[in-house]
């Protein structure tokens, strides 16, 4: 049953992925400038350029090239960087560690902070705590991620020197070194995500707390924490999990800026460097990769629904 549902959802993702691939491919197709002329250099004759064009397959039709490109991708090959001549998949693989570390730590921090915040705000609806949480959320939405990043870096790294200003250490250097370098970036990146999750958690909890079964639980004499986190939160979980999935888009976008602030050698830095050098295959590859990750995360979220709410069936 569950397997069936997963298969169905996976199949539904295929046309979307094809659409993304088509979009990303057309990006390279419509860029200004001729890659063949670029590779051939300034002194090349028109014949040489034409030869390079046909050797690269640039003289064939759009759809033929798109189909070939798709086949390549299915083999895990995303093309080669114009600048360094290295394979894009290889470059992405190299930079994956820091970005995944940053994003997963942010995800954990955000959920651990935001969900209890939203639950408490809903429980104490209308009080100072609730208002402060909601005000904090508006601020979280409004202050751009790199601004929070610089602010944190200035206070905790430059002024107080508690944490490193920038840089990244892989997990193999020890968990503390790894964590120390990621604390500030994750908090900075988490700001808007925390705001989003806290707000939706509060709204979902308010809905649930007015239900009869919550009153029954209270009447039975269950403890407040028990009611909030075991009875209510469980029933408010679907919208919360949904927004956590959708919010990954914010996380991905924010990671590009955060990695620049903290000099983290991840996919975001790779993208920024590629933009400065107009290295389109890399930009293409990273966008395709991130979109796949995003789709995959939301696929997992859809699967979670079935577990969280047994009434949902696909």
């Amino acid at each position: 049953m569950l397997l069936n549902a997963i298969l169905k959802r996976l199949l539904a993702t295929v046309p979307v992925l094809l659409g993304v691939a088509l979009f990303v491919f057309s990006l390279l197709y419509i860029i200004p400038g001729d890659p063949a002329a670029l590779i051939a250099g300034d002194t090349a004759t028109p014949e040489e350029i034409a030869r390079i064009r046909s050797s690269l397959g640039l003289d064939r039709s759009f759809w033929v090239r798109f189909a070939e490109w798709l086949l390549q991708i299915l083999h895990g090959e995303l093309g080669t960087s114009i600048f360094s001549g290295m394979s894009v998949s290889h470059l992405i693989g190299q930079r994956l560690g820091p970005t995944l570390s940053l994003m997963s730590l942010t995800l954990v921090v955000a959920i651990v902070v935001a969900v209890p915040m939203g639950v408490l705000a809903a429980w104490k609806q209308g009080t100072m705590l609730d208002r402060l949480t909601m005000m904090g959320a508006v601020f979280g939405f409004s202050v751009p991620v790199f601004v929070v990043g610089y602010l944190l870096a200035y206070v905790f790294a430059v002024e107080l020197s508690w944490l490193p200003v920038q840089g990244y250490r892989p997990l193999s250097d020890g968990i503390w070194e790894w964590l120390r370098h990621l604390i500030l970036p994750s908090v900075a990146l988490g700001g808007i995500y925390i705001a989003l999750i806290a707000r939706i958690t509060r709204t979902a909890m308010l809905e649930v707390l007015s239900q009869d079964y919550v009153r029954t639980a209270k009447a039975k004499g269950l403890g407040q924490m028990n009611i909030l986190f075991r009875h209510a939160l469980k029933n408010a979980a679907v919208p919360v999990v949904t927004v956590i999935g959708i919010g990954v888009a914010l996380l991905i976008g924010g990671a590009v800026a955060t990695e620049s602030v903290f000099s983290i050698p991840g996919l975001g830095r790779l993208t920024v460097d590629a933009i400065l050098r107009r290295d389109y295959p890399i930009i293409q590859g990273v966008i395709l990769f991130f979109s796949m990750v995003y789709l995959l995360v939301n696929l997992v979220v859809d699967m979670l629904y079935v577990i969280l709410d047994p009434r949902i069936r696909y």
Partner: protein, 301 residues
């Protein structure tokens, strides 16, 4: 809406009171009390708009004028926020920067809204178009908006117009989805069906019966798009994919201040504060509008 018009009336009709302490608040004060978010957000936004419009009166410096003699000066009375590494007056750059951010925010809000409304209405009314449009928006929405904007600016010449177009395309699908949803639910309303049964032409139904009822959620969504666009513009400029570097957008000023931010943190923080306040103003306005226009929506997001 009704609530606030009655508020206006009762406020205006109150007889003048002799006792200072018991005097009822005027209509404006009452309205502000009921919609603090709109008042604060709107007020801050008007202030920023004034700064942007009156920039040449506020500062006599040219934001693009480089004075090599005055490179990297600390704040002084002559240069309130100091000068940057090229000897340009940072105060002037920040003040003129308000123009870029506000322009990008509003232009994107308008363009994305117009496109989104058109797309939403078409796919809400025409089945065959709906399938195609929804597949395309599915694809666009599965690319994180900032990356989509990066992709689009990367393939175009750096200019403010291209940044506006890129962010508009990235923000449009959400508006389209929203409008489509509202249209689909409105189509089933008795008054729309009655109009259809009476033989009213489709354009008239859309103009008379559909559009006015989509206005509230569209306006609220448009303010959020405006806020998101200003942040996206700043991030694009920050990573070097935005407006050309000679244009004093807040993102560009921050990006230029990056190289020396540990020595001169104000070069990053001053434009950052302006940017954050402006985005906050727009977000407050959006929240306020949402609560004022549709109390039921307040329970949602």
């Amino acid at each position: 809406m009704n609530a606030c018009t009655t508020e206006f009336q009762t406020g205006g009709q109150m007889p003048p009171d002799l006792f200072e302490a018991e005097r009822p608040r005027g209509p404006i004060a009452l309205w502000v009390r009921h919609h603090p978010a709109i008042a604060w957000g709107g007020g801050l936004l008007v202030l920023m708009a004034c700064i942007a419009l009156l920039a040449p009166l506020i500062t006599s410096y040219d934001p693009a004028n480089m004075t090599p003699m005055l490179r990297g000066k600390k704040p002084s009375w002559a240069h309130l926020f100091g000068t940057d590494m090229l000897g340009r007056d940072v105060f002037a750059r920040v003040i003129y920067g308000a123009r870029i951010s506000l322009m990008v925010g509003f232009a994107v809000a308008v363009i994305a809204t117009v496109m989104g409304v058109a797309v939403g209405i078409v796919s809400g009314f025409f089945r065959f178009a709906d399938t195609i449009i929804m597949r395309i928006t599915d694809g666009l929405m599965s690319i994180p908006p900032i990356l989509l904007a990066i992709a689009l600016t990367a393939i175009s010449r750096p200019s403010v117009t291209n940044v506006i177009i890129a962010i508009s395309i990235a923000e449009m699908p959400r508006m389209g989805r929203l409008v489509r949803g509202v249209v689909l639910s409105l189509r089933e309303r008795p008054y729309v069906m009655a109009a259809q049964a009476a033989g009213t032409r489709l354009p008239k139904i859309i103009l008379r019966h559909i559009l006015p009822n989509t206005l509230a959620p569209i306006m609220v969504q448009a303010t959020y798009i405006c806020a998101a666009a200003m942040i996206t513009e700043a991030i694009l400029s920050f990573i070097g994919a935005g407006a050309p570097t000679n244009i004093p957008s807040w993102g560009n000023i921050i990006s230029e201040g990056r190289a020396v931010w540990q020595l001169r943190p104000y070069l990053v923080f001053i434009p950052a504060v302006f940017l954050s306040i402006t985005v906050l103003a727009v977000n407050l306005l959006g929240d306020g509008l949402r609560d004022a226009l549709d109390p039921r929506m307040a329970k949602r997001v």
